[in-house]
């Protein structure tokens, strides 16, 4: 195929470099510098997609990120991407794309029959139907609607590309690189401040790349070139192309989405991350984001071949691609005349400009007239002809209030319509940062009014639509912004002189009438092109009481498509305002939200797209040993803990049976390094512990340890652990694995905010120490071999004592505490000695058949003894008393955190849910953790539940299943039979003491 619509000279594309691509299966040629859209236009392809609801044929409307129509699926396979705007896709060799949301093809789309039923499918129709019978909603209607859903298709494979994030700080951030942004960046950059300039486009220059403006007597693009060259030479300036500033958050936080490799083609630069999110903290911000041209809302305004005027100009000037052979320009303002002029110069036939204004006598219209273009005033396009491409327009004079067609219709043949309804400043970022807008009656648009952060708007974004203002305001703002950060004197450098062509005022004209009242005939006035919202829909919404612009938006879905209303919002609200006979500012805009242009999920995830980088996996020093020795792991918070160590052929049950037996009969070893550890010292340390633990601490002798509970002020248990007195004023606290960080923050909160007078320092030493727990009847023998210099006798090293010594040749602190009920020692050594000690234990313990065990076995062993695990027996609603641990609550020491809550009515109840043991009748039957309990076997629904099973295991040592449970009034019901329910299965169980094993504690001392 040849490019029939490619011009022969001018433009920024390189006609000598041809690029092959396919669209909807057909081969085409474009050239370097093209976007997919410009290449399609050069090839005369206008029909590029189908609309969302009614599948009407759609053509390319714009030349930027505001494109609602030309939405395509790029490539196939794992790098395929749905919903890209053809106007933003840069052409590369071999590109392949297709239309979305049409079947079997864009030319013949079966769902287009929707359009036939279109008379019923008005705004909100689905709220009014599909209700009866209700059985059909889920089975017929919703599936049918769902089949119509969506535009493109997600690839099923994992994304082969990578993404990353960058955090940057700067003094001045400039968004948008048109004349205003470039001037601002230059002025700020020259002061030496750190400046960032970003633009969504692949080239800097903004609209200057699209038009033929003159700066300092030369084509403006020459000024752009020197400006960019100067900026590139500055070390303090960072330039980001293809970079969409998508969010402007609190505290001058601006986030930018940079597409780094897409333009090379998929997978072309594997060493680079495909896209990058930049997080900028900028002291000052200059928004030079330009403006969006608004389409006019006229009858049949969505036929392919209809385009925004400035987009047509851009295709011709910038890409050398003519939008058609013969075009009619339709406008309510002067800017479209430069379009007509440029298009004629580029070789297109523009017979007519249809202008809604009655008097048209500006410089640009007059120049156009001189070129032989007929200017028809006070008139509008009242109908268009053609189906998949415009064939012509019907024009007529229209009343100035927009109510009706006043003259007779005249037909003009054309294949292109270029419409301009005025300009809307791109105030998105300004509004995201909570800046307040003002409606400008003269310019017919919302403009920034009051800023809320350190930010300035300039150029078209501010509503200053002439080039000289853009240059001047940019320079002034750049210099002032830099000065506010301590750079430069704030004086704007003299800006270059633009050739100014005076423009006459625009006329607000929101809906162009046609030969039937709007909405009452076959011609439709589209407002939101992607979502098929028409002016009639908006009027209907207003009639139905949707008077708030937010209701109108949601009822009609105006502005909710992928362009987020860049083209439709202002037209929509203006139509609503005239329908309600309310001033436009009274109707107001909808809320501008991030992102400005949609941003890939992958990019937002960044390198976290690889889960192990998203969240740290924390490992103990012995992790490598566990791994090599076949351990399975259990995630506990961020930690990976060894769960059990299956030998060949063993399942969990077998492994745990073996591990528990080893501990009860011989010696077992557990990696307990993940326990939180806090060093607490100072003369008030014991007093402090008295306040935060439920039990008494003043009299704990040095050399001894004690188990404690911490409560929140609501009286409920929130952490537990053993704390040891290292010296008169010095304690070593342990916490649960998951609780470590929270407990330290919490201790500090009380210390620093409630009791600042207490002389206490808390320091985390969690990872200073590796902790190995060695337990079982043979533990002492092993310890004696490991530490020949230490005395492990019961007399000299009793239960709940600690001693320093040398173990396996390294300094160690040994605690004699037991979470299993058996003789047990916790050995703490420096983190870096953990692996050594572990291996040494395994080596010396071999003759005792030392057995490493994991958390599962630990749980079984402690359950046999009735020891609770915070977070398993507790869920934030248990007091120590509920757990049967009144003994841990000091009665006489005075206040401690949470104490006051005990005497509240509900907390003091005698029949609260209390911790008990449960025994099944059938010794082999292991209850399910989480089974619910009732007093009676047979229950009505809802059944009166009296508690649940918190822990349940097969106990190899007892040769019987065991369980712990919280049961209402459980402490008074020892020996009673109740019922456990697990998904339909009912098991009779007896309430017993939770201490199943060695109730007298005879094994503790070995």
């Amino acid at each position: 195929m040849t490019e029939q619509f490619r011009t022969t000279q001018g433009s920024r594309v390189d006609r000598s470099k041809a690029i092959n691509f396919t669209f909807n299966g057909k081969n085409y040629k474009g050239v370097e510098g093209d976007t997919l859209a410009s290449a399609l236009i050069a090839n005369g392809v206008h029909l590029v997609g189908r609309s969302f609801k009614t599948h009407r044929p759609r053509g390319i409307l714009t030349c930027g990120s505001e494109e609602p129509n030309a939405i395509i699926q790029l490539e196939t396979g794992p790098r395929s991407e749905p919903n890209l705007r053809a106007t933003q896709v840069e052409l590369y060799e071999g590109l392949s794309a297709k239309s979305v949301n049409c079947w079997p093809s864009v030319n013949f789309d079966i769902a287009a029959v929707n359009a036939i039923a279109g008379r019923i499918f008005v705004a909100g129709f689905y709220y009014k139907t599909f209700m009866k019978p209700s059985s059909l909603w889920m089975t017929v209607w919703e599936p049918a609607i769902r089949r119509m859903a969506g535009l493109g298709v997600l690839p099923r494979e994992k994304d082969p590309d990578t993404y990353d994030h960058m955090n940057e700080f700067c003094e001045v951030m400039v968004v948008g690189s048109g004349p205003a942004g470039l001037s601002a960046a230059l002025a700020a950059g020259r002061t030496g401040a750190r400046v960032v300039l970003c633009d969504e486009h692949p080239e800097f220059g903004g609209t200057l790349l699209n038009t033929k403006e003159i700066i300092d007597g030369k084509p403006a693009q020459e000024w752009v070139k020197t400006a960019v060259a100067e900026l590139e030479a500055m070390d303090n300036v960072r330039l980001l192309k293809r970079a969409n500033a998508f969010g402007y958050y609190d505290h001058n936080y601006i986030t930018v989405h940079e597409r780094r490799t897409d333009h090379f083609g998929p997978g072309a630069k594997p060493e680079l991350t495909r896209q990058r999110i930049w997080h900028f903290r900028s002291k000052q911000v200059v928004l030079a984001t330009g403006s969006h041209e608004r389409p006019l809302v006229f009858a049949d305004n969505d036929r392919p071949g209809t385009m925004l005027a400035a987009a047509g100009q851009t295709y011709a000037n910038r890409y050398g691609a003519l939008p058609g052979r013969r075009g009619v320009v339709f406008t309510n303002n002067d800017s479209a005349y430069s379009v007509a002029i440029d298009l004629v110069d580029a070789g297109m036939d523009i017979p007519t400009v249809v202008d809604l204004r009655e008097v048209v006598d500006g410089d640009l219209p007059n120049t156009a007239r001189k070129k032989g273009i007929e200017v028809i005033t006070g008139s509008g396009i009242v109908a268009t002809l053609g189906r998949k491409r415009v064939k012509g327009v019907e024009i007529a004079t229209v009343s100035s209030d927009g109510s009706q067609v006043t003259g007779t219709k005249r037909k003009i043949d054309c294949d292109t319509i270029l419409s301009s309804g005025g300009w809307s400043p791109a105030v998105h970022l300004f509004s995201q940062s909570i800046g307040k807008l003002r409606y400008d009656e003269e310019k017919v648009c919302f403009v920034p009014n009051v800023s809320s952060q350190n930010e300035r708007t300039v150029g078209a974004c501010k509503g200053s639509f002439d080039l000289q203002s853009a240059l001047d305001e940019g320079a002034a703002a750049g210099a002032a912004a830099a000065k506010d950060t301590g750079f430069g004197k704030g004086k704007a450098p003299a800006s270059p002189k633009a050739l100014v062509v005076e423009e006459k005022p625009i006329k607000a004209y929101w809906v162009v009438p046609t030969d039937h009242p709007v909405g009452q005939g076959k011609r439709k006035h589209f407002v939101d092109f992607q979502h098929d919202v028409t002016a009639a829909d908006i009027m209907l919404a207003a009639r139905e009481g949707m008077h708030s612009v937010e209701h109108m938006k949601r009822y009609t879905t105006t502005g909710m498509a992928t362009d987020q209303g860049k083209l439709s919002n202002v037209n929509g609200l203006a139509i609503l305002s005239s329908q309600l006979e309310k001033a436009i500012p009274k109707v107001g805009t909808t809320t501008f939200r991030p992102p400005y242009t949609p941003v890939n999920f992958g990019a937002l995830a960044g390198r976290g797209i690889n889960g192990d980088l998203a969240d740290p996996v924390r490992r103990t020093p012995m992790y490598s040993w566990h791994l090599e020795n076949g351990a399975t792991f259990e995630p506990v918070g961020q930690w990976q803990r060894a769960w059990y160590y299956p030998k060949a052929g063993e399942d969990m049950h077998a492994a745990v049976t073996r591990e528990t037996a080893a501990l009860r009969d011989g010696v077992g070893i557990l990696d307990a390094s993940t326990l939180g550890k806090i060093d607490i010292q100072g003369k008030d340390a014991a007093k402090f512990l008295n306040l935060i633990y439920t039990n008494a601490w003043l009299k704990l002798p040095v050399g001894m340890c004690r188990y404690g509970f911490m409560l929140k002020e609501d009286g409920m248990v929130f952490d537990d652990g053993v704390t040891s007195r290292l010296g008169e004023n010095h304690f070593h606290m342990t916490t649960t694995t998951g609780g470590a960080a929270g407990v330290l923050d919490w201790l500090e909160e009380y210390l620093q905010t409630e009791w600042p007078d207490l002389e206490v320092y808390c320091t985390s030493v969690t990872e200073e120490w590796s902790t190995l727990s060695i337990g079982g009847p043979k533990a002492r023998q092993l310890l004696e071999e490991l530490a020949p210099d230490m005395d492990f006798s019961n007399e000299n090293f009793p239960f709940m004592a600690w001693r320093d010594g040398v173990v396996a040749g390294v300094d160690a602190r040994v605690f004699r505490i037991s979470f299993t009920g058996d003789l047990s020692y916790e050995i703490n050594v420096r983190n870096w000695h953990g692996l050594h000690l572990w291996k040494k234990c395994m080596e010396l313990g071999e003759k005792y058949d030392i057995t490493p065990y994991g958390t599962e076995t630990m749980h079984v062993l402690r359950a046999e003894k009735g020891f609770v695990i915070v977070g398993q027996e507790t869920d934030g609603t248990q007091t120590p008393q509920d757990l049967g641990m009144d003994w841990i609550v000091a009665k006489k020491k005075g206040d401690f955190v949470g104490r006051r809550s005990f005497i509240r009515e509900d907390t003091a109840r005698a029949d609260r849910k209390q911790l008990v043991g449960l025994m099944t009748d059938n010794p082999k039957e292991v209850l399910t953790e989480g089974a619910q309990l009732t007093y009676e076997r047979v229950n009505p629904t809802p059944a009166p539940m009296v508690g649940h099973v918190t822990s349940s295991y097969w106990s190899p040592n007892l040769d019987h299943s065991i369980a712990m449970a919280l049961v209402k009034d459980g402490h008074n019901r020892m020996g009673q039979w109740i019922y456990a329910h697990d998904r339909g299965k009912v098991t009779k169980v007896k309430i017993v003491s939770p201490v199943f094993y060695d109730p007298k504690g005879e094994r503790r001392d070995g």
């Binding site: 609190d250 505290h251 609501d714 905010t753 409630e754 006051r900």
Partner: protein, 112 residues
């Protein structure tokens, strides 16, 4: 993401801190003397200010100090950052504040 100036370390991103709730709620000296309702007031009831809210933060990933922030909960403007134990009078937040509703009843004292 907020940008908070730790009174000890300087400006840091929100992610380095933990929020600690409303500030200046003193723990009652003698909880035993309180009624259940008064105790509940201390443990659960919060001012939840719309406007300038005084709150605690801890610089968890930095100096581990607790401190106070006065922040406009509508605009997120940080009006003041000050150390524990201090309670400066504050300038009004400079940006838009929603009109605090007129009070018809005396506002209760904070704390218990």
């Amino acid at each position: 993401m907020l940008y908070i100036k730790c009174p000890f370390c300087g400006d840091r991103d929100e992610t380095e801190y933990h929020y600690g709730g409303e500030a200046h709620i003193a723990r009652p000296e003698n909880p035993d003397e309180l009624t259940d309702a008064e105790w509940a007031e201390y443990v659960f009831m919060r001012t939840n200010t719309k406007g300038v809210h005084r709150e605690r933060w801890v610089h968890s990933d930095g100096c581990r100090r607790w401190f106070n922030v006065a922040r406009n909960t509508v605009t997120n403007e940080i009006v003041s950052v000050y150390k524990t134990g201090e309670k400066p009078d504050l300038p009004e937040a400079s940006t838009s504040k929603p009109a605090p509703a007129k009070k018809t009843s005396a506002k209760k004292k904070e704390g218990a």
